[in-house]
């Protein structure tokens, strides 16, 4: 079998970026959570907040370090495997990614060290301020990298000169059409992801009657956020979808599983897309709802996949399923949020065994929904790497062979499994040992090394 360097490079990129995104996504939410806790501690002086803040800061430190380590790999991927893309689009995405690096550095070089190690060294307001700067820094990083990604989805503010993009209007390039929606959708997703980790860990403590004070507070805060943000995310997601419908209709057709262009399109709840025969098996559909959602008119026209030649369609099945996983988990989040309101009203938020169990199991759903969402949007924009301008198949490094990429992919797979396996195990140890142990104000200043913040050993005694 001939190994295809393009598909292998795509798999490799998907692998390293999926691994990477888990950590920043989590730390974006966590940084804001810590800033809120620090503020509450500063304004109320209640010990529970500082205990929570210190505990989640340890988790933050390890996750941040994992994000940095896997991020260094990312900064080389575009060159090693996607050199045509780097040359053709470097003028646009280069500076945007450059700014992402700069923000991350700025953050690491200044405020992260103070947040992790400076509690006893700086006045309290400075420490609180640092927690804000770290939170803002992570959001700025997300801003730039999502701007670069969005530009690839909906390019604007640039023109092709001698086969390479040159920026004509930075404002238009940075705030390209899909960027505001993608940014809002992603940030909300990060917050929800973190909230479900906080909720899941707290529910686990509550079930095991450990650290109940802090667990109750965190549980309540997390569920409060979910109750508000999960429904809001549905609205943001809908707006993002409408934006995609306008700029990348083929992606929406794949998400919805529409093959035929129709007025009054149904919403296909489930089905098994068949790309060979250009139809879905075992469809369950709701009439007219598809058009209603996408065009806000019952008889609005929705283009189907057949409107595009076969070589301009994205892979359908994976986009179709990934989208349903994301939306399904979104509704589960809304359900958990609303149910928590009901329990809260009845004063039974902390002692409903079934709900606590559900919340423990929901710990990873944010990550899964996030990845499903990225698979939807990234596979859905295929076959383009810069939408409408540059095909993914024309973007890889010409000299690479399939064998080269296969070997690097295998090496990454093995190493990531070992290293991140150890890292995740280490996180698990921190959770096991829980908040409020090892003294309140521990930690000597030790430079800016996030991984050294938690004073937890990796193995049992």
């Amino acid at each position: 079998m001939e190994l295809d360097p393009v598909i292998l490079s795509r798999i490799q990129f998907a692998f390293v970026v999926s691994f990477h995104i888990l950590f920043p996504a989590f730390t974006i939410g966590l940084a804001s959570f810590i800033a809120v806790l620090e503020t509450l501690w500063a304004s109320t002086n209640r010990e529970v907040f500082i205990r929570l803040s210190q505990f989640w800061t340890k988790i933050f430190a390890v996750s941040f370090a994992m994000g940095v380590v896997s991020g260094i790999v990312m900064s080389f991927q575009f060159g090693t495997n996607w050199s045509r893309f780097s040359d053709i689009a470097g003028n646009v995405v280069g500076p945007l990614m450059g700014y992402e690096v700069i923000t991350a550095f700025f953050l690491e070089a200044t405020f992260l060290g103070i947040l992790l190690f400076g509690r006893n060294r700086v006045p309290r307001p400075v420490h609180v301020f640092s927690s804000y700067m770290v939170a803002i820094g992570t959001l700025f990083s997300a801003f730039w990298i999502l701007s670069a990604n969005s530009w690839m989805q909906t390019p604007a503010g640039a023109e092709l000169v001698d086969g390479r993009f040159v920026v004509t209007d930075w404002w238009a390039a940075i705030f390209n059409p899909s960027f505001p929606y993608r940014f809002a959708h992603m940030v909300a997703a990060c917050y929800l992801t973190t909230a479900f980790v906080v909720i899941g860990v707290s529910a686990w403590y509550l079930r095991h009657k450990r650290h109940e004070d802090t667990a109750r507070t965190a549980f309540s805060m997390g569920l409060g956020l979910v109750a508000i943000l999960a429904p809001l995310q549905l609205i943001i997601g809908d707006l993002h979808g409408l934006n995609t419908f306008e700029h990348q209709p083929a992606k929406v057709a794949a998400m919805e599983g529409h093959w035929e262009t129709q007025e009054g399109a149904p919403m296909i709840v489930f089905g098994i897309p068949d790309e060979e025969r250009e139809m879905n098996h075992a469809e369950i559909k709701i009439p007219l709802l598809g058009s209603l959602i996408l065009t806000h008119e019952a008889m609005g026209e929705v283009r189907g996949l057949k409107a595009w030649p076969k070589d301009e369609r994205p892979p359908v099945a994976i986009v179709f399923y990934a989208f349903r996983i994301m939306v399904g988990l979104g509704f589960l989040m809304i359900g958990v949020g609303l149910y928590s309101l009901l329990l809260r009203k009845r004063g039974r938020l902390y002692d409903s065994p079934g709900f606590l169990r559900l919340c423990t199991w929901c710990l990873p759903i944010g990550f899964i929904a996030l990845l499903a969402g990225w698979f939807t949007t990234e596979i859905g924009r295929q076959p383009w790497i810069v939408y409408g301008f540059l095909r993914t198949s024309d973007a890889t490094s010409p000299a690479l062979t399939g064998g080269n990429v296969l070997s690097s992919l295998l090496i990454y797979a093995v190493v990531y499994t070992v290293i991140f396996g150890a890292g995740i195990y280490y996180l698990y140890r921190i959770v096991r040992s829980g908040p409020g142990e090892g003294g309140l104000f521990g930690g000597l200043i030790s430079g800016k090394r996030p991984l050294s913040a938690p004073d937890v050993r990796m193995e049992g005694e």
Binding site: I72, S75, G447, L451
Partner: protein, 333 residues
Amino acid sequence: METYLPLIWAGIIGLGVFMYVLMDGFDLGIGILFPFAESEEERDVMMNTVAPVWDGNETWLVLGGGGLLAVFPLAYAIIMPALYFPILIMLIALIFRGVAFEFRFKSDHKRLWGVAFWFGSTLATFSQGLVLGGFIQGFEVEGRNFVGGAFDWFSWFSVVIGLALVAGYGLLGATWLILKTEGETQDRFYRLARPLLVAMIAFIIIVSIWTPLNYQEIADRWFSWPNILFVAPVPILTAGVALALINALAKRKEVQPFVLSLGLFLLGYLGLGISFWPNVVPPDITVWEAAAAHNSQFLLLVGVIILLPFILFYTGYSYFVFRGKVRAGEGYH
């Protein structure tokens, strides 16, 4: 502006790479020297001398590598695929080494993570040498693409450069440890620094003869009249620094060996610069040809000019905070 921007950026990227080589050089060197320590306690001390600063050192690599895409995308697009495997190995080795820093102190399998630390450091250094060797040999380019093979970088020349870098970083590490430790540990690294220095000098001589023999253009640059007048100070200074270093080690000076070792690296780097300027992709793509559009270069320059003082200040500050000797049983773990 269009002429000067690429020059400014060449300076910034050059500085980034050089800062990286110097700073990660000595902490990689400590990993290379790990097997020579007598005990796990001594290894703790060695690690603790760099623990507060090593990841700051590594950020310079991202500035060099990530910056290249933004400001010299063509160089990035040619060099990265051409050096696919050395870069892959370097990244993997750096990951292993980085997490070993923390996990070694936190795990019960201290020896195992110690081995990972040594192996990762040595492999990362060696593959950086392969990257440099591949760079010196130049790249087969057609149009705007690298068209050579995945193993073009492999040659005895690049292997020698790899070994040279292991010796060189080892020397930086040993002299750093002379500066940061005392007693028996310090003695051990005085003893180790001498053969490392001899090896480093030998490698400098070998590479200085081999390179111009292989590459006529580089020979012309160094040995033609009147160039030879302007560039002669580099080898002369190198010889002077090497002698001063031998002397400083013999007299058991504490600070000079490290500073002079940095000097050797600076001169080597200058030598490379002289050999290749103004090419950013050997043999013949210049900084101007590889430059991004000037509005792209300018946009990022604004950010970097704001950021650079912060990085330099914070770097200096953390070295200041952690100045002085490191003793056994001391450390923040």
